[in-house]
Amino acid sequence: MTPRLTRRRFIKSVIFSGAALSTGAGFYLTSAQTRQAGAVERLVSLNINGRTRRVDVMPQETLAYTLRYKLGLTGTKIGCNRGECGSCTVTISDVTHYACSTLTHSVKDKAVMTVEGLRAEDGTLHAVQAAFIAELSPQCGFCTPGQIMSAVALLKTNPRPTRDEARQALSGNLCRCGAYDHYLNGVMRASGQLS
């Protein structure tokens, strides 16, 4: 058995929720030149950090890719690219998502916020950012933007969370350095519960 070869096998069965395997096999090829009902336009407007950006987005492009490689927003980190670490966490309509596991085309009409969008116009840091500095929350810092976005989303819906609520809310963000306590201290400070 050679995994390299077998890995390349085309797995012919489908796939997710039973998308059809039926006739009509030639349809896609013959009509590929004209856009199908529901097929996407590549040039799209994205609402990122309160600004509208026109971007040429490949159909299969992930939001993490668009942010980092098309828009230069490298604060969103790719730690695993598989939804297993949380380094790429952004908010979409104030809800946390893994940008590595989000299609850019699915956020066209939604407000996307990344770590770069948190500072006020005058440069003032967001309360969570300031609190994370005060509590020396980050260690290596690679997971920090994701931790911050999870904390920001939490405080939007729950301005005075308990420590356990904060722990639950941030639990989809791995920190290999193990700075969890310091991040939680930061959340408690940002919510005015720690002075």
């Binding site: 058995m1 050679t2 995994p3 390299r4 070869l5 890995r7 390349r8 230069g72 927003l73 490298t74 604060g75 969103t76 980190k77 790719i78 730690g79 695993c80 690219n81 598989r82 297993e84 670490c85 380094s87 990344t114 770590v115 770069e116 948190l118 500072r119 840091l125 969570v128 950012q129 994370f132 500095i133 509590e135 020396l136 929350s137 980050p138 260690q139 290596c140 810092g141 690679f142 997971c143 920090t144 933007p145 911050i148 420590r163 356990d164 722990r167 639950q168 941030l170 639990s171 963000n173 791995l174 920190c175 290999r176 350095c177 193990g178 700075a179 969890y180 306590d181 310091h182 939680l184």
Partner: protein, 814 residues
């Protein structure tokens, strides 16, 4: 001693970038014309490359170039080239790299490459290669033999060779069954001190236990991505190392460039944990590919590739006999470690044995060990290599002997713990100083051991309480590196450091020692680091918990040199002897008449005018070439403080003790960590919040080592089962103690100018040992003899089907 800066919290200058997303890691740098590289790696654990056909891939539109081993200098055997030549020794071993205008095109091109392989037998369990007739992981053998100079930790390099070591099947069977394999087997390393038999004869409580610890991946969240380009014969390399300037000569050597022509930029590093101490082989691929295609190249390493090439902790299959005398003194220890060095690197048996010799201070001890290769992930130092996995294995065994003797666990641990007269290892090496018995007592009080230990075994429905105590240690200091600082004509103090930014903020903590000596307000200091073009000194590696000791020494020397020059300049300009002058308030002034003096800005201006040693035109001859070049680069820009550190004597012991209370559900094998308290004897605390981070982060790592993380391979085909992060079982927010109490003895080390030692590694050791101890305690002292202990093992034990117990010492499996 009262300090203005040492022992105080501060805001490290890089932290704002970390919370705003502006901090740049290797992958965040872009360069005009940059292309993207992708790797092709081995699908086999062992074999030979017969042929590679990449013509179709190279011809694809958008493909810029391909790098194979033929493009690389070949290191002396047995070291592996960065791209496999013909021999394959592990699955995931890089074979070639493709550069293309996008990653996606590079990946498409990888699909067009045809490679013919020839299979070779492989091994994932060290005992399977140790047994006579067992396959060898390398064509030449299964163990590394040192024939020349010592290799750096976790690396193979010339001066070594691969040879074969084998045991008769009977000896393997005995060892697998948990017994001493007998006198007639060869060892790779062996030592003894004291009268072993005589001491055992005096022991009244003797335990004999086998143990297995399984390695785990480092999995720093930032993979080992790099970006490189060449301009006018100079290589600019954006990398991800724990250390900085100490890596330059090795990286330059890999790239075939004079160190003077290598610009190494590494502003932030997204974690290393021992896996990125020195330049690693894949950096050569990035640099050589950039030179070959004559364009900037980014080689991003995926999470899966990070598993393959990002290293892992070594594993151990061991046996220990431990004897306590009636009064609780440790009489004798006999231990064996068969170390799993994976497909490269060194195993950790000797470190494990040194750990035991220090923490228990036995009257007699014997160690026998072998480091064996397997066709699993290459191993490297990982947070307390040897010490921390041994701490995990040791604590339940030690507990068993103490309980058997009817003594108190904490009392016995205090009694045997090393004080400043303690020794380490077969040479009975001396310590710079130790107050570890006090640390254990302090921890016991913080945890309220007297009362808490009574809860041991208490039932609450299906749950049972376990109380654990464990100890951690790592040698935490080196010496002999260079220090460099500069007082600018603007009066500011520029603190140059070649210390890497691995996330501990130690780079900032140590330069504060120079600011302290020069009595400069922190606001008037600027740290210069992260880019070798910024004139950085030769600094120690950021590993082995040593920065806080080693680099406080260098900064102290540089600052004292600057103070000397300030006073001499003042004496030259204002008359009298240098000794008649003092410094404060960023001025050098006459002690008898403080109004007579120069500001630091004025003194720096005078240094520039005076030249010579004052402004770095001349400098001590014993400086490292990197520091010398940096001083040359700074010459004439201010007052230069520079010097080479002297050598310290003895081992610098950083030691910790951890106490843990768990509540374990006997029906599910899951447990909650109710409380965790830890105390360190690591000298003066220089940066309290940084210390806090170390202790808490080490606690998380301890939970991972003792409870979750391990490599898993299918012995039938050599495939790794857990390459991804979710399978690696790195502890999450919901798996660790919600809060950690911590403390320190805060007694200065005699050989550090401010008394400091690091604690990054021991902070894990005490936690994993405490958890292993607590789990065993909750289950009536049961010896799993393994790390990690997972829920399925606990369920099986409670159900009395101990399928997962040490049994045949199996490793690298579930």
């Amino acid at each position: 001693m009262t300090y203005k800066l040492i022992g105080k919290d501060f805001t490290p200058p890089d932290i704002e970038g970390k919370v705003t997303g502006e901090a740049r890691y290797a992958e965040d740098f872009k360069k005009e014309g940059m292309v993207f590289a992708r790797l092709l790696t081995s699908p086999l654990p062992a074999g030979r490359i017969v042929s590679i056909d990449y013509s179709e891939a190279l011809a694809m539109e958008g493909v810029v170039g391909i790098l194979t081993t033929e493009d690389l200098p070949q290191p002396a055997a047995p070291a592996n080239p960065s791209l496999a030549s013909d021999e394959i020794t592990y699955l995931g071993q890089p074979i070639l790299a493709i550069a293309a205008v996008t990653e996606q095109i590079a990946e498409n091109a990888l699909e067009k490459i045809r490679i013919d392989f020839e299979r070779r037998p492989f091994v994932v369990d060290p005992l399977d290669t140790l047994v006579e007739g067992g396959p060898n992981p390398y064509p030449k053998g299964n163990t590394l033999v040192r024939t020349g100079g010592a290799a750096a930790a976790g690396t193979t390099q010339s001066g070594t060779d691969v040879q074969e070591i084998k045991w008769p099947r009977d000896a393997i069977n005995a060892f697998r069954a948990g017994r001493d394999p007998g006198p007639n087997v060869p060892w790779g390393a062996e030592w003894v001190f004291g009268e072993l038999d005589a001491e055992f004869a005096q022991c009244t409580s003797i335990v004999e236990e086998p143990f297995v610890t399984i390695g785990q991946s480092h999995h720093a969240l930032e993979s080992r991505t790099g970006m490189a380009y060449w301009e006018n014969g100079r290589c600019f390399f954006y990398g991800s190392l724990q250390s900085h300037t100490i890596g330059i000569p090795a990286l330059a050597n890999m790239l075939g460039v004079d160190p003077a022509n290598l610009v190494f930029i590494n502003e932030n590093t997204g974690g290393g944990f021992g896996g990125k101490i020195f330049p690693y082989p894949i950096m050569a691929v990035t640099g050589h590919l950039a030179r070959k295609v004559n364009r900037p190249v980014q080689l991003r390493i995926t999470r899966e590739e990070e598993f393959y090439i990002g290293h892992a902790r070594a594993g151990m299959q061991g046996w220990m006999k431990l004897g306590l005398k009636a009064n609780g003194d440790v009489g004798a220890i006999d231990m064996i470690v068969i170390g799993d060095a994976g497909s490269g690197g060194g195993a950790s048996g000797p470190g494990a044995a040194n750990f035991v010799s220090l923490m228990l201070q036995p009257a007699a001890m014997r160690f026998r060990g072998i480091s064996l290769y397997t066709n699993t992930a290459p191993r490297a130092a990982q947070r307390g290599p040897g010490e921390n996995e041994m701490a995990t294995a040791l604590s339940p065994i030690y507990d068993k002997a103490i309980k058997q003797a009817g003594l108190d666990r904490v009392q016995v641990k205090i009694q045997n713990a090393p004080d400043s007269t303690g020794t380490i290892g077969p040479q009975r090496g001396e310590l710079t100083g130790s107050w570890f018995p006090q640390a254990i007592a302090q921890g016991a009080e913080m945890f309220n051991w007297q009362e808490r230990s009574q809860l041991s075994g208490r039932r609450n429905g299906t749950k049972v309480t376990g109380i654990g105590v464990g100890m951690g240690y790592h040698s935490a200091g080196a010496s002999g590196y260079d220090g460099l600082c500069r007082i600018g004509t603007d009066g500011k103090l520029y603190l140059h450091t070649g210390v890497g930014n691995l996330g501990t903020y130690s780079y900032a903590a140590v330069v504060r020692a120079a600011a302290e000596v020069l009595k400069v307000e922190w606001e008037n200091c600027e740290i210069v680091r992260g880019n070798s073009d910024l004139h950085l000194p030769w600094s120690t590696f950021q590993a082995g918990s040593n920065t806080m000791f080693t680099e406080v020494r260098t900064n102290n020397i540089a600052a004292l040199d600057a103070v000397r020059k300030l006073k001499q300049i003042a004496a030259t300009d204002l008359g009298g002897e240098a000794a008649e002058y003092d410094i404060d308030g960023q001025r050098v002034f006459r002690i008898s008449d403080p109004t007579q003096g120069l500001t630091y800005a004025q003194a720096a201006q005078r240094a520039v005018e005076l030249g010579g040693e004052y402004s770095g035109q001349t400098y001590p001859e014993d400086l490292n070439a990197i520091t010398a070049r940096s001083v040359q680069g700074l010459a004439g820009t201010g007052l230069i403080g520079v010097g080479k550190d002297t050598r310290h004597t003895g081992t610098v012991p950083s030691m910790t003790v951890g106490f843990m209370q768990i509540e374990l559900d006997t029906l599910t094998g899951k447990y909650d960590i109710i409380d965790y308290a830890c105390v360190a004897d690591c000298g003066t605390i220089v940066h309290p919040m940084g210390f806090s981070q170390s202790m808490r982060g080490g606690g998380v790592w301890g939970v991972g080592l003792a409870g979750y993380e391990r490599l898993v391979y299918d012995p039938q085909n050599g495939l790794p089962a857990n390459v991804g992060l979710y399978q690696a079982k790195i502890p999450t927010y919901l798996d660790v103690p919600m809060t950690t109490q911590h403390g320190a003895t805060n007694i200065p080390d005699p050989q550090s100018p401010v008394g400091s030692r690091g604690v990054g590694e021991p902070s894990q050791g005490c936690a994993c040992a405490a958890l292993a101890s607590a789990i065993s305690d909750a289950l009536d002292g049961h010896q799993f003899g393994r790390a990690p202990v997972t829920a399925d093992m606990i369920i099986n034990h409670v159900a009395q089907v101990d399928h997962f117990n040490t049994g045949n010492l199996k490793t690298n499996t579930f």
